[in-house]
């Protein structure tokens, strides 16, 4: 561990540790509430902390803005990052890799599952129009995209995946209240494990703005994509998983697979 690996928050001087925070406590506005806010700030490791704003909101609640010096050290060497562990391919390269590797088009089924109807994110990945200047997966000649749209139930998704012989399933989850995104995705992955034998289960990919990319195992999927994902990242991952790592059955062996 290099010494450079330890950093602290920066207000206006190296090492000052300064952070801003705001929160509401269910305590009526007053000195007790301010004391409670300071206690919370202290427990968060802010010392000294200054309650710079407090305002009654609602009945018996107080909103606070607190500034203070965080006494924590951030150890960069201990940060676990899900780095891209596969090469980033341009559409042409991805197509070529698929053509060479499996000699058939790969089928990708996409959906917003559960009651979630936010399709803009998955459409950004799938539709030709794409995202951030990159074309979506429909633009890839060697990918066959079946976009099921919004509010797709897990049984329906599994049925369609079987019919379409999906190599990969892309599900999107945007609504996170009560951790809906987590439980929906877990339900989905469990159902796929039940419905398909391991070697025929499509690659499972989950995506959405509030996912944490390190949650793949917990969610039971092969990969998680979060905020700001671009189509090429997804296509490259699919090539890596299905072609390079050989999850997809190549054209010659397809008969066996569909048996």
């Amino acid at each position: 561990m290099t010494t450079g690996a330890i950093v602290r928050p920066y207000g206006d001087t190296t090492g000052d540790g300064m952070v801003q925070t705001s929160f509401t406590l269910p305590v009526p506005h007053g000195k007790l509430a301010e004391g409670a806010a300071l206690q919370l700030a202290t427990k968060m490791g802010l010392e000294p902390a200054m309650v710079v704003h407090s305002k009654p909101v609602g009945d018996g609640y107080t909103f606070f803005v607190v500034y203070g010096r965080a006494n924590h050290l951030v150890d960069l060497s201990a940060v676990r990052v899900v780095e891209r562990d596969y090469p980033l391919l341009a559409p042409k390269e991805a197509n070529l890799a698929i053509r060479k590797g499996v000699r058939r088009r790969l089928t990708v089924v996409g959906a917003c599952i559960g009651t979630d109807a936010h399709t803009v994110g998955i459409d950004a990945i799938l539709n030709i129009k794409g995202f951030a200047g990159e074309k979506g997966l429909e633009y890839y000649r060697e990918l066959r995209v079946v976009n099921l749209g919004a509010q797709v139930s897990v049984p329906r998704l599994i049925e369609r995946c079987a019919v379409e012989r999906a190599d990969a399933v892309l599900v999107s989850q945007v609504v996170t209240q009560r951790d809906a995104h987590v439980s929906n995705t877990q339900e989905m992955s469990a159902a796929f494990r039940e419905a398909f034998p391991a070697e025929r289960r499509p690659v499972l990919v989950a995506g959405g703005p509030r996912f944490d990319e390190s949650m793949a195992a917990e969610l039971g999927v092969d990969r998680v994509f979060a905020r700001g994902t671009t189509p090429a990242e997804v296509a490259s991952f699919l090539v890596d998983a299905l072609v390079t790592k050989g999850r997809a059955v190549s054209a010659g062996d397809q008969g066996r697979r569909s048996a």
């Binding site: 705001s22 929160f23 509401t24 305002k55 909101v57 609602g58 009945d59 609640y61 909103f63 559960g114 009651t115 979630d116 109807a117 399709t119 803009v120 749209g149 919004a150 509010q151 609504v175 996170t176 209240q177 009560r178 809906a180 703005p209």
Partner: protein, 525 residues
């Protein structure tokens, strides 16, 4: 208000075209009924509650009737025929008996038909009279407690998923300045082909629309209205597969505004277009009678399409919503036509483009309240920037005389609103309203300037689009609009007239179709 130099002839043309586009759709609605229209009729006649599994009695009863005789003649004749026959003492008992298979329905004829019809009229008429009573009650309370002292009205959302958390938050919001409270629905409710029952505590990102939740919240807000000396309005959603029923429940529980768009369900919930248009007409007739203000959903287009490129689709939809609403009997003051501050803030002169669009709507619909929606898709996790954007949204609302201002939240891209978000958001509105209340006096976009030019351009593009819609032909229904919707004209979504959810609940009316609710509602308008 500043005046845009719009050609009055162009405005007349646009409106005339919208009406022509709407005509075949109205005819379609008159030729069909849906399961939800029929259930709404039963609800107006007083049928409520659910079986032990939670399936509402209106659904149980309707399904049995449909199985026995179909609903192409309407549910009223077979149901009241059974009652007249003495199959049960009242609707509730009838539903319970039907559910266990101890009643069989038939289509009455001759004197039986006459008796059934008059019994149905009486029963449904009582419901319509309740709508009237609720409306008068509202008028009385508004008179007693007063309307908001200012324009625009301040519209705030609560969305905890739990009616018992919603209530104190709504009351707090009202105390902090909200004039209108909307209880957002749980995800998924729009696709349910029944209205859940009772007080509910477990919605996702919203709370179920139920008759009991309506009642609880309205009662709580009545309390707060009395306390504040200002009538706080309550909003919900007459949208999705149960649009007509929810409209009926809203009228019966004295809700004050309802989200109710002619195409939202089609485009954003993949609900069958015919189902939507039929349901929409009935629900609007109820709203008209109940004195409810509708809020249309044009803002939603701009969450998937670009707000500059698609500006004219908003105008076209407003014109269509207006035309459908007028046909259904709604008055101008009931038309909360939607639009939104959704232009990419990075675009040069984005704020002035917003002003141009907002003024265009203001001037096209001078007597409608207009519902002005805040930025959402360009909000990010940078809550400071979000708070600023919302301030400029509020300013645009003030400068252009919007009627209903849906308050934006700095956490739009993060979470459903927190208690503190709402408080901060109201503070933002108050600052702008207070500091710039009279700024419209100084706001005079020149006739040949950027703003007026842009407004004229959007109007011209709207006329163009309406003409293109009329040019569409559609094989099954022959209506230009259905074909245009199938084509992806709105919000970039393609929705064919024979696709989508809820199509199996659509039935072509037979000769002799009877729906006392429709008869009564149409007689009035």
């Amino acid at each position: 208000m500043p005046e845009l130099d719009l050609d009055p002839e162009a405005v007349r043309t646009a409106r005339r075209l919208a009406q022509r586009v709407g005509e075949p759709i109205v005819a379609l609605a008159q030729q069909h009924t849906t399961v939800s229209v029929e259930r709404a009729t039963l609800r107006l006649a007083g049928l409520a509650g659910a079986d032990p599994d939670g399936t509402p009695w209106p659904n149980r009863l309707l399904d049995t009737v449909r199985a026995d005789v179909g609903i192409e003649h309407g549910v009223a004749l077979p149901v009241w025929d059974a009652l007249v026959r003495g199959a049960a003492g009242d609707l509730a008992e009838l539903a319970a008996k039907a559910a266990v298979g101890s009643v069989r329905f038939r289509l009455p004829a001759g004197r039986d038909l006459v008796h059934a019809r008059s019994a149905a009229r009486k029963a449904v008429g009582a419901g319509v009279r309740t709508l009237d009573a609720r409306r008068r009650e509202r008028e009385r309370l508004v008179k007693r407690w007063g309307d908001p002292p200012q324009q625009p009205w301040i519209y705030l959302i609560v969305a905890t998923g739990d009616i018992y958390e919603d209530i104190p938050q709504a009351q707090a919001a009202a105390r902090a300045g909200a004039d209108v409270i909307a209880v957002i629905r749980s995800t998924g409710q729009s696709l349910l082909d029944f209205v859940p029952e009772g007080a509910t505590r477990e919605g996702y990102a919203g709370t179920y629309a139920t008759s009991e939740n309506f009642r609880l919240m309205r009662a709580a807000l009545d309390e707060t209205s009395a306390e504040l000396g200002r009538y706080i309005r309550l909003t919900n959603y007459a949208s999705g597969l149960c649009m007509p029923e929810i409209a009926a429940l809203a009228g019966l529980q004295r809700l004050d505004m309802m989200l109710n768009d002619s195409m939202y369900g089609i485009l954003f919930r993949d609900i069958n277009p015919v189902r939507t248009f039929v349901d929409q007409r009935f629900s609007r007739q109820v709203h008209a009678r109940a004195g409810i203000i509708i809020n249309t959903g044009e803002d939603n287009y701009l969450t998937t399409a670009d707000a500059v490129e698609a500006a004219h689709t908003v105008t076209v939809s407003q014109l269509l919503n207006e035309s459908f609403a007028k046909e259904a009997g709604l008055a101008d003051w009931q038309l909360g036509l939607g639009h939104a501050f959704e232009i990419d803030p990075e675009l040069p002169e984005s704020f002035r483009l917003e002003l141009a669009h907002a003024l265009l709507a203001r001037q096209l619909f001078p007597d409608a309240p207009l519902k002005w929606m805040p930025p959402t898709r360009h909000m990010s996790g940078d809550v400071f920037r979000g708070y600023l954007l919302d301030g400029f949204f509020n300013l645009a609302g003030t400068l252009t005389g919007q009627g209903i201002l849906l308050v934006g939240m700095m956490t739009e891209a993060v979470v459903t609103p927190w208690l503190s978000d709402r408080d901060l958001a109201l503070q933002n509105v108050r600052y702008v309203r207070n500091a710039c209340g009279g700024l419209a006096e100084d706001f005079h976009p020149p006739a040949d300037g950027f703003i007026a030019t842009r407004a004229r351009q959007v109007l011209a593009e709207s006329i163009d689009l309406l003409e293109r819609i009329l040019d569409h032909t559609e094989p099954t229904y022959g209506a230009g609009l259905l074909a245009a919707i199938a084509d992806g004209t709105f919000g970039l979504m393609k929705r064919p007239a024979d696709g989508g959810r809820g199509l199996d609940g659509v039935v072509r009316r037979a000769d002799g179709y009877l729906n006392p609710a429709i008869d009564l509602l149409e007689a009035a308008s």
